[in-house]
């Protein structure tokens, strides 16, 4: 993630410093620069975790296909939508 540094806080580790975007295990996101909050659903949380781990987009598509039993075109389209939403929210 670029811009505000989406080095998401790990809720089980040290207390959140307030400097990076907050992301809880429940998928609750707080952007400290703009003061915006989001709630990710389970799928979004799964994908976001992969993005954070630096997994390549093509590999994420493959994992979505396996995990959610969809074809790769649908998986890629859904992933692009999600990435767009993250960008719109200033989170990517």
């Amino acid at each position: 993630m670029k811009g505000i540094g989406f080095a998401a806080h790990n809720a089980t580790a040290d207390p959140w410093s307030g400097e990076e975007t907050y992301l809880s295990r429940q998928g609750f996101v707080f952007d400290p620069v703009r003061g915006l909050t989001f709630q990710m659903n389970a799928t979004a949380g799964f994908i976001h975790g992969l993005l954070q781990d630096g997994v390549a987009i093509a590999d994420i598509v493959e994992m979505i296909v396996r995990r959610y039993e969809v074809d790769s075109t649908t998986a890629r389209a859904d992933l692009d939508d999600f990435l767009g939403e993250l960008r719109d929210a200033g989170l990517r």
């Binding site: 959140w16 307030g18 400097e19 907050y22 707080f30 400290p32 620069v33 703009r34 003061g35 915006l36 909050t37």
Partner: protein, 353 residues
């Protein structure tokens, strides 16, 4: 124990800042709090956890002489060490009275009249233009007819000089808004170009030299129909922080002030839409953010040296919560008939003298 007097005790749907100021003081200081009310129904007057005693003041329109006389009368009974005014309409009186109050041991930390004028809604646009700060175009309206020849397009905001604001999307709506605000708050009014976006407020505090010692930025999460923040969360945006400091330095402000910004949706740029020359009602959030600015102000007023505070924590949230206070009829009676109500540790008989 020091005694701090605080105004702005009416916490209704457009809450005055006094309650937040006093709660903040109570968090950090062992002090006696004298509440100064303008009306017997000012709500915080009846909260004995907040105020130790309450006294009615004459309205600011009664003039400096009447206000001074009453304050000295109160201070003779309960010597006041520090005074924190929190209402726009009373500030110019207190700024003018500050030297005289100081001679009687009542200390304040207030901006000078020039800074107060520059920050006023009437002058804000010119101040911003002179200092290269982004602020929506604004026209002072002496009459309703001016609405037909504004140099910017609708939508616009129609604002009172101290209070009141309405958004108008057309000339018809603007005329209605003009009459609504004028009938409630009086003329002149302001027409301001409307900037669409999210609202951010920044609470700042300046020391005796006008140098900033604290800064708490907040995004409004919930707004009432009067535009008042009912919930908010602290943020940490270096750009907002730097722009706030720039404004503060231009004003060389002593004491507290609130900057109101809109973050323009299209460009992400901050536009200064208003300066409030006092604590905002949400100032208790500063305690949660690690910068107790009301208590810091009291320390400055009392002559302590205060270093700039560590940066405010982001992600601290407030929600405003209304409660009903139950109080005996005698409390209302005392405030109405005697102009004073002593809750804690005072001499009630003396208070009535």
């Amino acid at each position: 124990m020091i005694t701090v007097a605080v105004t702005g005790l009416n916490a209704t749907d457009n809450p005055a800042p006094g309650t937040g100021v006093i709660r903040s003081l109570r968090e950090e200081m062992d002090c006696r709090v004298v509440g100064l009310a303008y009306d017997a129904l000012d709500t915080a007057a009846y909260d004995s956890d907040l105020v130790d005693e309450v006294h009615l003041l004459p309205y600011p329109s009664a003039g400096q002489g009447a206000v001074l006389e009453r304050l000295l009368q109160i201070s003779e009974r309960t010597p006041i060490d520090a005074l924190i005014p929190t209402l726009d309409s009373e500030l110019s009186n207190f700024v003018r009275l500050a030297p005289e109050l100081e001679r009687h041991g009542i200390r304040t930390l207030l901006p000078d009249l020039d800074a107060l004028r520059m920050a006023s809604k009437l002058e804000l646009y010119n101040f911003c233009r002179r200092n290269g700060l982004r602020s929506p175009s604004t026209v002072v309206l002496q009459n309703q007819a001016q609405l037909g020849s504004l140099p910017f397009a609708f939508p616009i905001a129609i604002k009172g000089v101290f209070h009141g604001a309405e958004i108008a999307h057309s000339l018809d709506e603007a005329v209605l808004a003009y009459e609504k605000v004028r009938s409630r708050w009086g003329a002149p009014l302001l027409a301001q170009q409307y900037v669409g976006g999210e609202e951010y407020d920044v609470l700042m505090l300046g020391d005796h030299q006008g140098a900033p010692v604290g800064c708490v930025p907040m995004r409004k999460l919930g707004i009432t129909d009067k535009g008042k923040a009912w919930a908010g969360v602290t943020v940490r945006d270096p750009r907002l922080h730097e722009e706030s400091l720039e404004i503060f330095r231009a004003l060389r402000w002593r004491g507290p002030l609130e900057l109101e910004f809109v973050r323009e949706e299209r460009t992400g740029k901050y536009h200064l839409i208003e300066i409030n020359p006092r604590f905002p009602a949400w100032c208790y959030l500063s305690v949660g953010a690690g910068q107790n600015l009301p208590a810091t102000l009291a320390r400055l007023v009392l002559g302590e040296d205060v270093a700039p505070l560590p940066e405010a924590r982001a992600g601290v949230t407030f929600v405003r919560h209304a409660v009903d206070l139950i109080c005996p009829l005698e409390h209302l009676e005392r405030l109405v008939t005697m102009g004073s109500l002593i809750h804690n540790g005072g001499n009630l008989h003396a208070a009535h003298a």
